[in-house]
């Protein structure tokens, strides 16, 4: 409830985008519809609209990222905003102070939007709570908590292929425990009305609270994939191997890797998604990643439209009313 309050302005418009949790269905659909409209810009010779002219967007990345940062930057540029990329190396000092100091400095430079990625869960919320009233904060991934724009990209990709959400079976496979993407996806899928959300992973990679999120938990890939419309593979973070949560990459692939044979258990028109980057031969076979059911590269293109939608929607908070033709 508190998160929803923080994310919306007085007119119930999106003010910050921190998590998909607690946002109403209408708002998620509005994000998808707005993104759909932005797709026509790729047909223009000049791939830009003047919507955010004069606004300054800061990509504030405390954790490395290529794809997410690049598509946020492209989205901002296609909206005619000015973009500043700041990569802050992880600091051992008190995180609260460091963040607030950085924030105050950037506000003093009259920036309008912060796109924040941070290794600690809750960092984007913290910034949203403390930033100046005119500033919007977009969460580009915080710890293992949320990655809402990635989740909306995946919803957009699903809607383009499947139209209706309320008839779907969606399987999320892999490291659910540490995945901010999975958490945001589960909230979005459930708000959009997907009746059958499955998570498939070894016991060590499923969070204890999983079943309270309204998902069906499977530890066996064959059972979990039976008759699904959508398969979302998550990246296996290799550092998990050292923490003894998993035996070996080879063993993992044998049990949970997506191959053509496993894919045949799903519906014939199943789509396969992955937020990237893919560990080929660990989460999935190359023949699947590059195969006819894969929509992985479409997810990347949709990333720009979704981020344009969220950026323009958050920049219209607390506007005065009045209209002319």
């Amino acid at each position: 409830m508190k998160q929803q309050h923080l994310q919306l302005d007085n007119n119930k418009r999106l003010r910050h985008f921190l998590t998909t949790e607690g946002l109403k269905r209408d708002l998620l659909v509005e994000i998808l519809d707005t993104a759909e409209s932005f797709t026509s810009i790729t047909h223009q010779q000049v791939k830009k609209v003047p919507l955010l002219r004069g606004k300054t967007v800061v990509n504030l990345f405390f954790e490395a990222s290529t794809r997410t940062r690049t598509t946020f930057e492209l989205a901002a540029k296609r909206l005619s905003a000015d973009v500043l990329n700041i990569n802050v190396p992880a600091s051992a000092t008190n995180k609260g102070e460091t963040l607030l100091d950085t924030l105050r400095n950037l506000e003093a430079m009259h920036c309008d939007m912060f796109v924040v990625r941070h290794q600690n869960s809750g960092a984007a919320h913290f910034i949203a709570q403390h930033c100046a009233p005119h500033v919007s904060v977009l969460n580009a991934g915080d710890g293992s908590h949320a990655h809402p724009t990635q989740a909306m990209i995946d919803m957009f990709t699903i809607r383009r292929h499947k139209q209706e959400f309320h008839t779907l079976s969606v399987a999320i496979v892999g490291d659910i425990l540490h995945s901010r993407v999975a958490r945001s996806q589960i909230h979005a899928l459930s708000t959009l009305g997907v009746p059958d959300i499955r998570v498939i992973a070894p016991r060590t990679l499923i969070p204890a609270e999983a079943s309270s999120l309204g998902v069906h938990v499977y530890h066996d890939l064959d059972q979990g994939l039976d008759g699904v419309d959508v398969i979302i593979m998550l990246r296996l973070q290799r550092e998990r191997m050292s923490s003894a949560l998993l035996p070996s990459e080879h063993e993992y692939f044998k049990l949970y890797g997506l191959t053509k044979e496993k894919l045949a258990l799903a519906k014939p028109d199943v789509i396969v998604m992955h937020p990237g980057p893919i560990n080929r031969g660990v989460e999935m076979d190359s023949s699947v990643a590059d195969g006819e059911h894969s929509v992985i590269l479409q997810q990347v293109s949709h990333g720009i439209s979704i981020r344009m939608a969220v950026m323009s929607m958050t920049m219209q908070h607390d506007l005065h009313s009045g209209q002319d033709t």
């Binding site: 409209s37 932005f38 609209v49 003047p50 002319d324 033709t325």
Partner: protein
């Protein structure tokens, strides 16, 4: 005030446009309507003039000059220009020409798709209250309206015009 039916006005517009196309020897024009009312009229003109290329549509929401004041329309639709704009004669169609800001935004968007040979502006109603120097080339009807009056085109089935009073700003 008695208003002509949009049907009759559109028929007259089609005639004017045909004359203009003949007089200026315009070869192979294309039609682009501005969402939402402009598209209804453009679609009718497109049939009457037997234009070869499919109808183009523009949603100018992303090009408006009042985004920072009123934000985006919640019903924004993708623009569709299913032909190349470069060196083409474009007939741009809207329902009402009032302040001129919508047409300015539409021209800006159009030129982001390419460089047309010419743009002809056709509007069903031209009303008083221009705020920027834009005028229509082909007009269905002209009206004097007060600041607190609005004229609206209703559709998309049988088109009709309605004048409504709005609260003073």
């Amino acid at each position: 005030m008695a208003l002509e039916s949009p049907d009759k006005l559109i028929a007259a517009m089609a005639e004017q446009l045909q004359q203009r196309i003949d007089n200026q020897q315009i070869n192979n024009p294309a039609i682009v309507g501005i969402h939402t009312g402009g598209v209804w009229i453009a679609s009718d003109l497109h049939k009457r003039l037997a234009i070869e290329d499919p109808l183009g549509t523009l949603d100018i929401s992303f090009y408006r000059d009042d985004f920072s004041r009123i934000g985006m329309s919640p019903e924004v639709k993708p623009s569709k220009l299913p032909f190349r704009i470069d060196d083409r004669h474009i007939i741009l169609v809207d329902d009402v020409l009032y302040t001129g800001r919508t047409v300015r935004a539409a021209l800006n968007e159009l030129f982001d798709y390419g460089r047309p040979a010419s743009v002809t502006l056709a509007t069903l109603i031209v009303r008083s209250g221009r705020e920027i120097p834009i005028s229509a080339d082909v007009v269905g009807a002209e009206l004097e309206l007060g600041k607190n009056q609005q004229i609206k085109l209703k559709g998309p089935g049988d088109l009709s015009l309605e004048i409504v009073d709005v609260a003073p700003a």
